[in-house]
């Protein structure tokens, strides 16, 4: 508990990193807006004259896609990439010697980084309204449940990021793995196609993966497609993934710490 101010300090330092790389972040935001515009044009053409598909009209679907893509951008598992860099450069030795746990440091860095990006995301949201479609949450309850679901989604992605980062204790070259993760997360989270529109074998696969917690569950709640018991079940699925991944992180970390190889230094 006494380490809390330290973690807070780490987080507040990390929140400034986004501004050090503001040019990169700006480019990412341009890419994000282009992506939202592309999805809007694509899905508008797909819907053609259909009023609604599976009970979802076009404006609701476009809201889903806009929210999903803004959200996927902001919850990127930066912590994992930081860990990978530190291992490769041998600096993880320093991190391990610090008086607070490395996992704690990474989580605070991640939270700080996201907090730093948040104002930038809010700044582009008006533009997202222009290139995409963005309606307010379906109801007040939907808005509240969405926030809860978003927090759960964040917990899942932080844990996945830690797991991916820890892989670098076994192999230093992880570029390919991160590329696969990015695609899998964008596609199986429902960021391009909502999971309810997936064809059958693929939908079952997506239902067994943790990525659905990232866009499909929170944003389905936002647009009012998941309500009542269905919504509670979806939130429960997110919690189950948090518990499973947290146990996995603990296990892998206990193995990883014994494998630390310091490069140079």
């Amino acid at each position: 508990m006494s380490a809390l101010p330290t973690y807070f300090k780490i987080a507040s330092l990390a929140s400034q990193v986004a501004y050090a790389y503001r040019f990169n972040v700006l480019l990412q935001l341009v890419g994000l807006l282009l992506q939202i515009f592309l999805l809007r044009a694509f899905w508008t053409a797909i819907y053609e004259n259909r009023v609604s598909v599976d009970g979802v009209d076009l404006a609701t679907l476009l809201t889903y896609l806009t929210v999903a893509n803004l959200q996927l951008w902001i919850v990127f598992p930066e912590g994992g990439e930081i860990l990978q860099r530190r291992v490769r450069e041998g600096k993880v030795a320093l991190d391990l010697a610090r008086p607070v746990s490395l996992v704690g440091q990474l989580i605070s860095q991640q939270v700080g980084f996201t907090a730093g990006l948040l104002p930038l995301l809010l700044a582009v949201t008006p533009l997202a309204l222009v290139v995409g479609v963005l309606r307010p949450p379906d109801t007040l309850e939907a808005a509240a449940a969405y926030v809860v679901s978003l927090v759960f989604a964040y917990a899942v992605i932080v844990l996945i990021g830690l797991l991916l980062g820890m892989v670098s204790f076994w192999t230093m070259e992880t570029t390919g793995m991160w590329a696969i993760y990015r695609f899998a997360n964008l596609f199986f989270s429902g960021g391009l196609v909502p999971l309810w529109l997936f064809p059958e074998p693929l939908r079952t696969v997506a239902g067994l993966l943790p990525f659905q917690t990232q866009a499909n569950i929170p944003v389905s709640i936002y647009i009012g497609r998941l309500t009542g018991v269905d919504m509670l079940r979806a939130l429960l699925i997110q919690c189950v993934w948090i518990v499973l991944l947290a146990l996995l992180v603990r296990f892998v970390w206990s193995k990883a710490i014994r494998r630390v190889v310091i490069q140079g230094g």
Binding site: F23, L27, L38, A45
Partner: protein
């Protein structure tokens, strides 16, 4: 010209042998090239398996268009894959050493490494194009074959020309990363679709501001007999392969001109 071609093949062969020293890495890069390109297609496949058509285009027709773009993109990467290095070479001052060697500068940059991933991009293009060809009816006369081949060359030259023009700008501006990013992003995201889905204004911009339409969309409408849907004169579609030549030629002139602006950043 002939001696340049021989030099190119000799240097590229040496680079390829260099890359082949690391067999596992070599295969991994190719696989990543294929996976990266085809994952974009999975999205279209999943949606069209449910909705059948995109603005009147069937899955086979969109795949055909996608295949042409991928072939052009892959061909461009195979030959011009290391154009983007020029920016770093100039900024780091490493460009100096290319100026004192008795080989054309561009040739040295392009052959400095073999772009292994491009084999995957191009291979993915071949696979997608052949698969799509099973799903669509194209009357493959000799003329159509020649048009398709020229369209792919044109597609490669459009991308290469834009990259070369951007590379030429880096002698003055040092950082051109933003331009490279936006051009790459627009070409690889918007170039794969029948452009009519974007509506009049954006379609116009993607034709005349950034020549995305000439890469695959316009040639595909010719081969698939869909030129009726075009909002531009049909001549633009038939002459699409030439656009690459014009752009690349212009970019080369710009490159030669800007090269004289180079000021070494020193060591």
């Amino acid at each position: 010209m002939a001696s340049s071609a021989r030099l190119y093949l000799a240097l590229m062969g040496a680079s390829l042998r260099g890359e082949l020293q690391y067999r596992a890495n070599f295969v991994l890069w190719i696989v990543m090239g294929v996976v990266f390109q085809l994952t974009g297609f999975i999205f279209i496949w999943v949606v069209l398996s449910r909705f059948q058509t995109l603005a009147g285009w069937t899955l086979g027709e969109v795949a055909f268009l996608y295949g042409i773009r991928l072939l052009g993109h892959g061909a461009n990467l195979l030959i011009f894959g290391y154009l983007h290095r020029i920016e770093f070479l100039v900024r780091e001052g490493d460009f100096d050493r290319y100026l004192v060697r008795p080989v054309p500068i561009l040739l040295q940059v392009l052959t400095s490494r073999f772009p292994v991933g491009a084999i995957g991009d191009f291979g993915g293009g071949v696979a997608l194009f052949l698969a799509a060809n099973q799903l669509v009816r194209v009357d493959w006369s000799a003329l159509a074959l020649a048009f398709a081949a020229l369209a792919v060359v044109g597609a490669a030259l459009i991308e290469a020309g834009l990259k070369l023009a951007i590379a030429a700008l880096c002698f003055r501006f040092l950082s051109t990363r933003a331009l490279v990013f936006v051009v790459d992003d627009v070409f690889s995201n918007f170039g794969n679709y029948p452009l009519r889905i974007f509506g009049g204004l954006v379609q116009f911009l993607l034709t005349f501001a950034l020549p995305v339409a000439f890469v695959a969309y316009l040639p595909a409408t010719v081969l698939l007999g869909r030129t009726d849907e075009l909002s531009v004169n049909v001549l633009f579609a038939y002459l699409a392969p030439l656009v690459g030549l014009v752009i690349f030629g212009g970019a080369y002139v710009l490159w030669r001109h800007e090269l004289r602006q180079y000021q070494s950043s020193g060591h």
